[in-house]
């Protein structure tokens, strides 16, 4: 049986949805032009006026917004409402000034929580369910989003936050959790631990919603098998609201985008040209209901494909594939965004050369990142103590920059493979982006 949280929108006809999007887009563009100097400046520079925008068909006229725009306007340059109207902020995982702060009014929080409630309902959850949320709570949107969604649905919510596996399993068995929300790698870890301890017959889980990092179909099958559940994907970005921008249904074949709140486009990441449905390109979002922090044509850097074919679940919302890659060189390791340029900065600051390679692996569902860096005469010494101390300082600085622990491996000069004179920077052995 299909569960919908908001059937009238989730199954609305394409005409109804387009009409709603047209109207909301026109209002949003008017509002940001009037209230946000940064948007006004960008639109003026592009020679577009709010009067040119009559609906989604005119969306392509508007300039893109990038993460750099958001960073340059930190913390509140893009705020479209007075701070007094806002009730909360969340923030991206970025470090060293790469942080983006997103503001929410109460309506924004309600909209976001409803998106998460729709995701939970699509996974089969109802008010009878016990939802265990083990995403992190705090600045990260994972915990707050699913927590709010579970409340909206009327389910009993277990606000576990991340970590403390013994306590997670104890509550899961003692309180009879039926829906698990966490990162796929943590779900896999929990599944393994539960099986190892022979507790499989003591859990009552039926579904899981796993997002915030890339995962494969093999991983899905493994988690489903070990826990005896159905595992669903969920997509979101803090900038846009948080998890729940798109969610998987019982078909497990793409994630439905909450189109009454977000307009999705696929563009050519190089030319910026809008691509037709079915073509692979960069996903761009325009939020049309957000009050405090509306984003117009925000480039996610995620490479996806959109699919507007009718879904057997009855939802009419367009579906997006899992991200198939990134249009920049960003890596997501242990749920944290990592840019090779950040690693390069740390290496240079520590006196190491820019001859390095980043190797990402996944063992037992846990990501591991190793930075291999070539030794130089300047960094070498006959004293093992000295070289090791420098290596340790590098590890500490990388941790401070990235927020996660990196292994460092000092290698012989010229040992890092180069192509056309340049070393291949990233070797991702996790095989996550196979599509």
């Amino acid at each position: 049986m299909q569960h919908y949280f908001a059937p009238e929108v989730e199954t609305a006809s394409r005409e109804e949805l387009t009409k709603l999007q047209d109207q909301r887009l026109v209002e949003t563009v008017r509002r940001v032009y009037r209230d946000v100097p940064y948007y006004r400046k960008k639109m003026d520079a592009a020679g577009v006026s709010p009067d040119d925008i009559h609906g989604t068909a005119d969306l392509h006229l508007l300039p893109f917004l990038s993460k750099e725009d958001l960073r340059s306007q930190y913390p509140d340059g893009l705020l479209a409402r007075p701070v007094s109207d806002c009730v909360r902020i969340h923030s991206t995982s970025g470090t060293t000034g790469r942080r983006v702060v997103a503001y929410y009014t109460q309506n924004d929080v309600d909209m976001w929580e409803e998106c998460c409630a729709r995701a939970l309902a699509a996974a089969g959850a109802t008010k009878e369910d016990v939802v265990q949320v083990c995403y992190g709570y705090g600045l990260f949107t994972g915990g707050a989003g699913l927590h709010g969604g579970s409340h909206k649905l009327g389910s009993l919510t277990l606000p576990m936050s991340s970590g403390n596996t013994d306590r997670q399993i104890q509550f899961m068995t003692d309180l009879g959790a039926t829906v698990l929300c966490c990162t796929p790698s943590y779900a896999a870890y929990l599944a393994e631990t539960i099986c190892e301890r022979g507790l499989r017959d003591q859990i009552r889980l039926k579904a899981g919603i796993f997002g915030a990092e890339a995962w494969t179909e093999e991983m899905r099958r493994e988690i489903e098998e070990k826990l005896g559940i159905r595992a669903y994907d969920i997509y979101g970005l803090t900038e846009i609201s948080g998890p729940g921008v798109a969610y998987e249904c019982s078909e497990q074949n793409g994630m439905h985008i909450n189109e009454d709140n977000f307009i999705a486009e696929i563009i050519d990441p190089v030319t910026g040209e809008v691509l037709p449905d079915g073509e692979k390109g960069e996903l761009v979002f325009t939020s049309i209901t957000k009050e405090a922090f509306p984003l117009i044509r925000y480039r996610t850097k995620d490479i996806c494909i959109l699919n507007r074919e009718k879904c057997a679940c009855g939802r009419t919302f367009v579906r997006m594939t899992k991200p198939l890659g990134r249009s920049d060189d960003m890596l997501i390791v242990k749920g944290v965004n990592v840019f090779p340029s950040q690693i390069e900065t740390v290496l240079l600051n520590n006196g190491y050369p820019a001859n390095y390679q980043i190797i990402v692996t996944r063992e037992k569902h846990t990501d591991n990142i190793e930075v291999q860096v070539e030794m130089t005469s300047e960094m070498f010494s006959d004293s093992l103590k000295e070289v090791t101390a420098r290596e340790k300082a590098l590890v500490a600085d990388l941790k401070a920059m990235l927020g996660i622990k990196c292994d460092v491996r000092l290698v012989a000069p010229k040992s890092i493979e180069r192509s056309e004179g340049k070393a291949k920077r990233v070797i991702d052995k996790r095989g996550l982006y196979k599509g």
């Binding site: 070498f380 006959d382 004293s383 093992l384």
Partner: protein, 145 residues
């Protein structure tokens, strides 16, 4: 009053030390002493050779990262207690050893210690006061004739 030690960076992988010694063999370099310190991912091999400058040049030509460090070489009688005596002198003099290793030469009844200290001159003075004279580079070669 010191001898020249060459330290070389090697990755901690099978065959690395063999490759390194092959480079020395090709340049006809004779090893007098060798010591290795390692952690999980790399090692530092320290050698005393017959021709330090030729070695440095060969290693650099072959892409190795290396450095030259003055170290103390001390002759001690090859009998129980000799090392204790020398180390006690240094310890009493407040000298901290970064690392040390031993080698033998063609001199019956004698053993030799390489000592790496922060201040080679200060350590040499302490040894001299106790009647122990560190070997200098030229003397080193005599030991192998």
């Amino acid at each position: 009053m010191t001898v020249k030690q060459i330290s070389v960076f090697l990755e901690n992988r099978p065959g690395m030390l063999a490759e390194f010694t092959k480079v020395l063999e090709k340049a006809n370099i004779d090893l007098r002493a060798l010591s290795l310190a390692e952690n999980e991912d790399f090692g530092i091999v320290r050698v005393i050779v017959d021709d330090a400058y030729a070695t440095i040049q060969t290693l650099k030509e072959n892409g190795y990262i290396c450095s030259m460090t003055p170290v103390l070489a001390v002759e001690i009688p090859d009998k129980p207690g000799a090392l204790v005596k020398m180390l006690t002198i240094l310890g009493d003099g407040g000298v901290n050893l970064e690392y040390t290793y031993a080698f033998l030469a063609k001199k019956p009844g004698s053993a030799f210690m390489i000592l790496r200290v922060a201040d080679a001159k200060a350590a040499a003075d302490i040894l001299l006061q106790a009647g122990i004279r560190p070997i200098c580079q030229d003397e080193m070669e005599e030991l192998f004739k």
